[in-house]
């Protein structure tokens, strides 16, 4: 009886722990955000993140992909700068990069590349950067973004610079190629 109770308890703990992550794969559409894409197979999506789509395979400390949308009036987390409807792609990229650089948990933030790119068929940007987190782990990021009317759309990939970034970069580029902007409803 006691052994069964322990087993049930363990199962409950495991289920509660896994409840935050759902296995994903295949098409994903958000009519609220006006986006669609194809998730890679075998990745897990966080269901505690309500404002972003966050997926990982080995854990967010090692690698994750994120899809974000903002209204131009939305406040960003680390910079007080805001988007404006008439911004050029390089000005939009500047706001995103400054938000990242102003994160107090991000150390030695360095931009490696900042170039124009089509994002979901719209004129946008692609930036790549490196930084260290508070534990001294060096991470690498790749961020595509575009401003369509009064909404910003961003899709990014962040991973430990050593081993993990290169491991899933191609997977991310494949996801990015399926990324479509249908505009929020």
């Amino acid at each position: 009886m006691r052994r069964r109770a322990v087993v049930v308890g363990l199962l409950l703990c495991i289920l509660a722990g896994c409840g935050h992550w759902l296995r994903v794969g295949g098409p994903y559409t958000s009519t609220a955000d006006g986006i669609s894409l194809e998730f890679p197979d075998g990745w897990m999506r966080s269901n505690t993140e309500k404002d972003v789509v966050l997926i990982t395979r080995d854990g967010v400390l090692l690698q994750y992909m994120m899809v974000q949308t903002f209204h131009v009036n939305d406040a960003l987390r680390f910079t007080k700068k805001k988007f404006r409807r008439d911004m050029l792609p390089q000005e939009v990229a500047e706001v995103i990069l400054d938000n990242k650089a102003s994160n107090p948990s991000t150390l030695t933030f360095k931009v490696e590349e900042n170039v124009p790119a089509k994002v979901g068929g719209r004129p946008g940007f692609r930036v790549s950067y490196t930084f260290k987190n508070k534990d001294g782990l060096r991470l690498k990021g790749l961020y595509y973004g575009t401003l369509v009317d009064d909404r910003f759309y961003g899709i990014s990939y962040t991973a430990a610079a050593r081993h993990y970034f290169d491991l899933d970069r191609k997977t991310f580029e494949n996801v990015f190629r399926t990324f479509r902007i249908d505009q929020a409803s």
Binding site: K80, K81, T108, G136
Partner: protein
Amino acid sequence: MRRHILIFVALVLAISGCATTRLAPVSSGDVAFEQDEKRLWARAKEETDALKNGGVLYEDHALNRYLNQVARKLVPADTFRSIPFVIHVIRNPHLNAFTMPDGAIYIHTGLLARMENEAQLATLLAHEMTHATHRHAIREFRSTRNKAAFFATMSFTIGSVPVVGGLTNLMGSLGSRAAISGYSQAMETEADTEGFHLLRRAGDDPTEAPKLFDHLLDDTKEEGVAEPFFFGTHPRLSERIGNYTRLIKDLPPAARKGARHPEAFLDATRRLLLENAHLDIKAGRFGPAERAAKKSLASRPKTAGAHLVLGDIYRQRNAEGDMDLAKTHYTRAIGLDATNPAPHKGLGLVHYRLGDKAAAKKALRAYLTGAPSAPDRGYVEETIRQIDGRTQ
């Protein structure tokens, strides 16, 4: 009988777990530091090494020399033999400073950029140095450990499982603990009071002491952002202002004066002022960035870098009339130093926004000529193509 034994055991454990938090301040060169204090110093050294290797330090040898000179005049040479104070600067726009128990003091560029003169710098240094001379880190560590030991002893006595978790963690993150929350209110007040005496002994103007914290308080109010650090929080800043104001009131009027050395301070921090302004711009804190650039221009009106900062602020803030202001400052920056490509790009973007496509193209071309391998070359070429009516 059994009850007496339990009480005796509890008392022995409580006493053996409690180390004194009453330690004499370091005022001479022959202080015998205790074992746990030496371990704390060793941890501080590790944290200092981590900060050095982490790439977060702001490198300006002349500034470092100046800061360490100001620190040296504040405490007697004997004290320096026991605690070899070294001042470092961290590249960070937040309002913060903290001290390791071994005398390593860290000041953020953001805090230095808000100061006006050497007397204000000395106020901060004297406050921070007092944390080390009065051994606040080990006193606070022991106080926390004693409480943990007390609770552990009580837990043992009443028969539950004793848990003394996190003591080893306490030894680490010394700097971050002090930086974020500061020390206890009593220790911070002691740092104000003793620091104030050091300031006066060195001949600095004591009336500057509260002004530093007044500026910081105004800054945090203006920005409306709760800074995560000790020197950026309203209650802590108000405490400092209250303490220093009381200390000044107790002085006879003749003693309310001293040296301020604003020129020496500005000379030493001139480069930092503008570099920190760029960090403030990134964070969207245009007010402090604008004040820093204007402070630089007030003493040296022909500083191209300050005009560039103002151009960047007005272009990105984009309030009414800002584009014209940006145009003026970018043009002045180019007039003072035509070799720097950055204001050409800013000017090009401003012209583009104002609809003057020909002027935009000319300025953007000048940017690419000055910076042929600019990382954002692709954007600039794309904008020129758009101006020419050729989109990719």
